[in-house]
C-alpha cells in the first residue's frame, strides 16, 4: 500500500501551486536579479519622474533612477528581512515550543501568556518606538519582527509536540535510551514539520507587510532599497499623485509577495489536513 507523497497531493492544489510558482519567481528575482541589475544610486541618467517606457520598464523616480532596478533590489531586501525574521522566530520559538510541549512544565503556561499578550497589545506602535530608538536598519527591523513573531510559532510547535509526544514511537525511543535532545529535535521535529512550515510562510508574508509599513513610515534602512521606502519617498515629496507608477508598482510587489506566500501556506495546510476546508 503506497500512500500519496506530500508533493503529489500538493500538486493537485491549485491555489497552493500558484503560490509556489509565485514564491519561486520572487525568490529568483530577488536573489539572482541583483547580479544582473546595477544598484541604483546617485543620479540617474534618464529623465526624472517619467512613466513606463521602453528604456525604463516601470518608469523613473525623482532622481531619474530606474524604478525597475529599484524594485528588483527591493525584492532582495524583502526576502532578506523576512527570512531573517523567520530565522529569529524559529531560533527562539521552536526550542521553547518543543521543550514546553515535551517536558510539559510551567513553561507552557508562560508561553501561552506571552502569546496572548503579544496578540492583544498593538505591536506596530511598539515596533515603531523600538526602531526609532535603535536606529533603522535591516538588522533592527528583522529582529523586531522576529521577536514579535516567535510566540505564535512557539504555540504551534508546542501544540503539535503535545500531540506527537503521545505516539508509541516516542515511547519506543525513550525505551531505547535515545537522549531527550534527539527525541525532541529529531523525532518530534520531523513529525511536526507541517504546521511549522505553514506558520513560517505566514511569518514571511506578514513580515513584508510590517517591513513595508515601517519603511513607509520612514523607519526603513536608508542604505538599501525597499518597496515601502520607495513609497515613502514618493509620498513625502508629494509625487504620489503625479507619478502613479512610483506608488502602484512597489505596492503591487508588496501585495503579490504577501499573496503568494499566503497561498503557499494555505496549500500546504490544506494538503496536510484535507478535512479543514471541505
Amino acid at each position: 500500500m503506497r500512500e500519496k507523497t506530500f508533493l503529489e497531493s500538493f500538486s493537485r492544489h491549485r491555489l497552493g501551486m500558484i503560490g509556489l510558482i509565485g514564491v519561486s519567481i520572487i525568490l529568483l528575482v530577488g536573489i539572482v536579479g541583483p547580479f544582473f541589475v546595477p544598484f541604483p544610486k546617485g543620479y540617474g541618467e534618464a529623465m526624472p519622474l517619467t512613466g513606463p517606457s521602453a528604456e525604463n520598464l516601470l518608469g523613473t523616480d525623482a532622481l531619474g533612477l530606474d524604478l525597475f532596478s529599484e524594485i528588483i533590489w527591493g525584492a532582495r531586501t524583502s526576502i532578506l528581512i523576512s527570512a531573517s525574521a523567520v530565522l529569529v522566530a524559529m531560533f527562539i520559538g521552536i526550542p521553547l515550543g518543543l521543550v514546553s510541549g515535551y517536558s510539559r512544565g510551567k513553561i507552557g503556561a508562560l508561553i501561552d501568556s506571552i502569546t496572548e499578550i503579544t496578540m492583544t497589545i498593538p505591536t506596530l506602535p511598539l515596533m515603531i518606538l523600538i526602531s526609532a530608538l535603535v536606529g533603522p536598519s535591516v538588522r533592527t527591523v528583522a529582529v523586531v519582527i522576529g521577536v514579535f513573531a516567535w510566540p505564535t510559532l512557539a504555540r504551534i510547535v508546542r501544540n503539535s509536540t503535545l500531540k506527537v509526544s503521545q505516539m508509541q514511537y516516542i515511547e519506543a525511543a525513550i525505551v531505547l535510551g535515545i537522549p531527550k535532545g534527539s527525541i525532541m529535535f529529531k523525532h518530534i521535529m520531523l513529525n511536526i514539520a507541517g504546521p511549522v512550515v505553514v506558520d513560517i510562510t505566514l511569518i514571511m508574508a506578514t513580515a513584508v507587510l510590517t517591513e513595508s509599513s515601517l519603511s513607509y513610515l520612514g523607519l526603513g534602512d536608508p542604505n538599501v532599497w525597499s518597496w515601502g521606502g520607495i513609497l515613502q519617498t514618493a509620498f513625502k515629496a508629494g509625487h504620489h499623485f503625479r507619478a502613479w507608477w512610483l506608488v502602484v508598482f512597489p505596492a503591487a510587489s508588496i501585495m503579490l509577495y504577501v499573496i503568494f506566500f499566503n497561498l503557499l501556506g494555505i496549500g500546504i495546510n490544506e494538503t496536510l489536513n484535507p478535512k479543514s476546508r471541505k
Binding site: P125, L129, L217, A251
Partner: protein, 317 residues
Amino acid sequence: MGRYIVLRLAKGLLTFFVAVTITFLIVRLMPGDPTTALISDSLSPDDALVLKESFGLDKPLYQQYFLFLRNLLKGDLGYSFFYKDSVSSIIGNKLWWTLLLMGSSLFITILIGIPLGVISAKQQGKLLDQIINVAVVIGVSIFVPLLAFLLLYFFSFKLMLTPIGGAYTPGIDPSQMFGSVISHMILPCATLVITYLASTVLYMRNGMLDVLKEDYIRTAKAKGVSDRKVTWSHALRNALIPTVTVTGLMIGKMVAGAVLTETVFSWPGVGTMIYDAVQKQDFPLLQGAFIVLAASVIVMNLITDLIVAWLDPRIKL
C-alpha cells in the same frame, strides 16, 4: 460583582502592566543614553536637569521604575521634544479622532462581516463560498497605504467626490460640522473596513462551522424546526461569541491599519502624530503613543470580553 469580572479586570491590568514595563525597559536599556530619548537637547541645561530628576535618570533602575509608574498614574507621560508640551495633553486631543475612526470602522466591519461569514459557512463548498475564500486570501494580504492611496486617488483626486484630507473642513459653520466629518471619514473608514473585513469573515465562518457541527443543531432539526430558523437563532447566538472574541483580537491589529491610514488621509489622530514624531525623532511622543494605544486596546478588549460573558450562558458573571 461576579468573580469573572474581577478576574478579567485583573488580567487587563496585568497586560497593561506588562506593556508599560516593556516600554520602560526598552527606553532605559536600549543602546545609547536614555537621556537623549527622554529629554530634548534643545532644552536649557537647568530645565534638562529638572526633567532628569523627575525621571530619576541618575538613580538605580528599580527606583526609576517606581518613579515611572507613579508618573504614569498621575497621567504624566513626559514632554514632547517638538511641541514643548506634555505628551498627555497632545495625545489627548488626538486620541478621540483615532477612536472615532476605529470605532466606526469596527462597527461597519462587524455589520458586514457577520452575515458574510454566516453565508460562507452555510454555503460551504459551493461557488459563493469559494469566491469568498479567494477574496479573503487577497484581503489579508492588503497593504494598507496602497489601498488608502488608491481610494484617495480615485475618489478624491480624480473624481473629486470626497475631500483630500483632514477630519473636517476648517472654518466651517458648526452646524455643518457633523456632515463635514462624515464626508471626511468615508474613505479612511472604507480603507479600514475593506482591510479587516477579510479576517472577520474568516473567523466568523470558522466559528459558524464549529457551531453548526454541534449536536443540538441536529436535535433541533429533528424536532422539525425549519432549517432557516435553526441557522439563525440557535447557531447565531453561539457563533456570536467567537466573533466578539475575534473582534477583540482585531482591535489590536486595527491600530496598525489606523496608523497607516491616518497618514495617507492626514486624519488628525494618533497615527499622523506618530508619523510626524518619527520624522522629528520625538521619542517621548512615540513612547506615549504606544502606552495610550495599548491602554485603549486593553480597555476595548475588556468591554468585548464582558459582552461575551454576558451573552454566554455558560459563564457565570
